[in-house]
Amino acid sequence: MGTKECVAMLLAGGQGNRLGILTKDLAKPAVPFGGKYRIIDFTLSNCTNSGIDTVGVLTQYEPLKLHSYLGIGQPWDLDRLVGGISILPPYTSGKRGEWYSGTANAVYQNLRFIMQYDPAYVLVLSGDHVYKMDYSKMLAYHRDNGASVTIAVIKVPMEEASRFGIMTTRSDGRIERFDEKPEKPESNLASMGVYIFNWSVLRTYLIEDAGMESSSHDFGKDVIPRMLSMGERMYAYRFNGYWKDVGTVESLWEAHMDLLAEPPLFDLYDPSWRIYARNPVEPPHYIAPTAQVKGSIVSEGSVVYGQVEHSVIFHGVYIGPNTIVRDSVIMPYAEIEAGVELYKAIVAEQAVVTQNSAAEGGDGKAGAISVYSSLALTRNYTA
């Protein structure tokens, strides 16, 4: 087995229960995003575009669709002879099996996978953020600082800081303090959940952490604070681009609206940083003479007879005549029946919205986002 300089471990086992019925039988990283992608595409494309060709994807929750979506990673150019994508579900060993009990534990259980490549660095990522980031620059920064750990950080609004891991740094970027979801944040430099570790350092701390009964085996809560308290050289790497945690219905909806701004806050058309995805085979989309489509993103295989404004229409969607779809996200193969009016809605994959179900969904004017799925017809969220 060849040696790799840097191996990425992508945490994709999260249940994402704040996405409600959207993740009823779907892992969060497999939730559709941006007209044709799934959330995990952004992180995987970052790896490809950063020249990282060895990615372990740690899965646990409802992985069927995620596994078949990832395959051997061919859409992301990650079907390599040595390295490439490896799916790492929980497993039994010797006489016992263990579920992944925390982010650090998930990586710990796969130390043997990393060992195969004997890397200098391990990049830990999560599969539920939308952003474009060149990890190779972060790696160079890590090396230049002679750091043992580097954490990517982004400035967030002060009032939201208590939702994140917050860092206090010296002027040279070295981290002095790390508080996971502090009540009274000292700064607004939030961890993006992107870590680079020296492999030898990570291994030592993970083995130690696994033996600590009081630990919840989480990077942010346990391992990072422990490393800091032991005096490891830890640096914060400032990221200035667009970054969005799409872990809630509200943020998922907002991130879609960000795509629709003119110019978009997050650009899918950037030729220097392509977003790779598994491509469905669908005919071109059809816009009927009766349709009106404005300020929207529409993907292949969709058929539009109605009015679509400021919305994202995924592939294979049907939008019937005399409909109005505004400020909404219509996921793959959903159907909006004739006469339906939707405002500020998210319609899940393969859901059918009838005039009856739409009436229950509310008109979105009060600021609530309606979610329609084929499992439960409608549910409201306050933005």
Partner: protein, 369 residues
């Protein structure tokens, strides 16, 4: 097994087939003509397919690649592309379909299948080869040739076609290859089924006597000796043999009934997948009655048109009744009516191009107007 011959010459397609065979002519916003017959075969569980190429075949190799997009990258059987130069003794050019088939006789011979579906590559249609095979077997036919009735067949068309004449029970009693005067309206779809042994015999008999056309020299002269049946196909057939027919069949796809017959109803039409973001309709865009592939950015007005991947229509542009192929860019304040832009054409701001429905204007690949 299936064999697709892509060596047809189509002078009436002008510049559209200068650098490519008609097999790889872009069609319907996302496809190439050959995708349709390939998909018919794959959907009918034919997984051993040979594609014979003539000149200009690099676009065929580009498009088909390993066959993975058609599920044909297999260890047993799969897709085989035969470039002309691979046959030493013809000097790279086939004189006709029979010679082309002869050149791959070895491949046909060693295939594991009993039957052969032999097809051309300039017609797009969705046909169940399983049903056609059933018809073939029920009649204990030696050869079954698919045809469709074209009620509007003109003298011009006829000179591009092979016409069949059948008895009421379906047996073919005459064949006319490219007649100047149409004899009936039954147009051969360049698709036939026969056993591979018979195919090899027919081809061999042709070639050793210096004849090179399978239908004219191989089948026509054997109509008495063999049971040759016609299989009537009632669906939509896009026969692409001129700029006019190319334009007309693309436009026909704006009709949902035609799309259903050709693309959506029978299962997927498989094609090469490309990674493109979804299409953006800007807030100032106005798109009506259009087929639009992914990767387009539309700021202007587009009506009754087919847009392939990655097309850009700038603000103030107006595109009507036109076909815009992959990667073309229509600049600001332009007007295009009844136009076919080949791939990567640029229309500079302010320019106008107006063709006629019966004489659409073709702009060649890569040209800046």
């Amino acid at each position: 097994m299936g064999i697709i011959y892509t060596g047809e010459r189509n002078i009436d397609l002008q510049d559209l087939t200068r650098a490519r065979p008609v097999a790889t002519l872009p069609f319907g916003g996302r496809y190439r003509i050959i995708d349709f017959i390939l998909s018919n075969m794959v959907r009918s569980s034919i997984t051993n397919i040979g594609v014979i190429t003539q000149s200009n075949y690099s676009s065929v190799i580009d498009h088909l690649g390993s066959g993975a997009d058609w599920d044909l990258d297999r260890r047993r059987d799969g897709l085989f592309i035969f470039p002309p130069c691979s046959v030493q003794d013809t000097g790279g050019w086939f004189k006709g379909s029979a010679e082309a088939l002869q050149s791959i006789a070895h491949y046909i011979q060693r295939s594991r299948q009993k039957y052969c579906v032999v097809s051309g590559s300039h017609m797009a249609y969705s046909l169940s080869l399983e049903q056609m095979m059933q018809y073939h077997q029920e009649r204990a036919a030696d050869i079954t040739m698919a045809y469709y009735e074209d009620p509007q067949l003109t003298q011009v068309d006829s000179a591009h076609c092979t016409l069949l004449q059948t008895t009421p029970d379906g047996r073919i009693y005459d064949i006319a290859v490219q007649p100047r005067t149409p004899s009936g309206r039954k147009v051969y779809m360049e698709l036939c089924i026969l056993e591979k042994e018979l195919l090899l015999q027919l081809v061999d008999k042709c070639v050793v006597r210096g004849h090179y056309h399978l239908v004219r020299d191989g089948i026509l002269s054997n109509l008495q000796a063999l049971q040759v049946y016609g299989y009537q196909f009632a669906g939509y057939v896009a026969r692409v043999d001129s700029v006019q027919s190319y334009y007309q069949h693309n436009m026909a796809l704006l009709d949902q009934k035609v799309r259903d017959q050709l693309i959506t109803s029978a299962g997927k039409v498989l094609t090469k997948v490309k990674n493109e973001p979804p299409t953006r309709h800007a807030s100032g865009a106005r798109v009506r009655n259009c087929l639009v592939a992914n990767g387009c950015r539309i700021y202007g007005e587009v009506e009754n048109s087919v847009l392939f991947r990655g097309v850009r229509i700038d603000k103030g542009a107006r595109v009507c009744n036109s076909i815009i192929m992959q990667g073309s860019h229509v600049g600001e304040d332009t007007l295009l009516e009844q136009v076919v832009l080949d791939k990567s054409v640029v229309i500079s701001p302010g320019k106008s191009l107006i063709g006629q429905a019966n004489y659409p204007l073709v702009i060649s690949k890569g040209v800046t107007v």
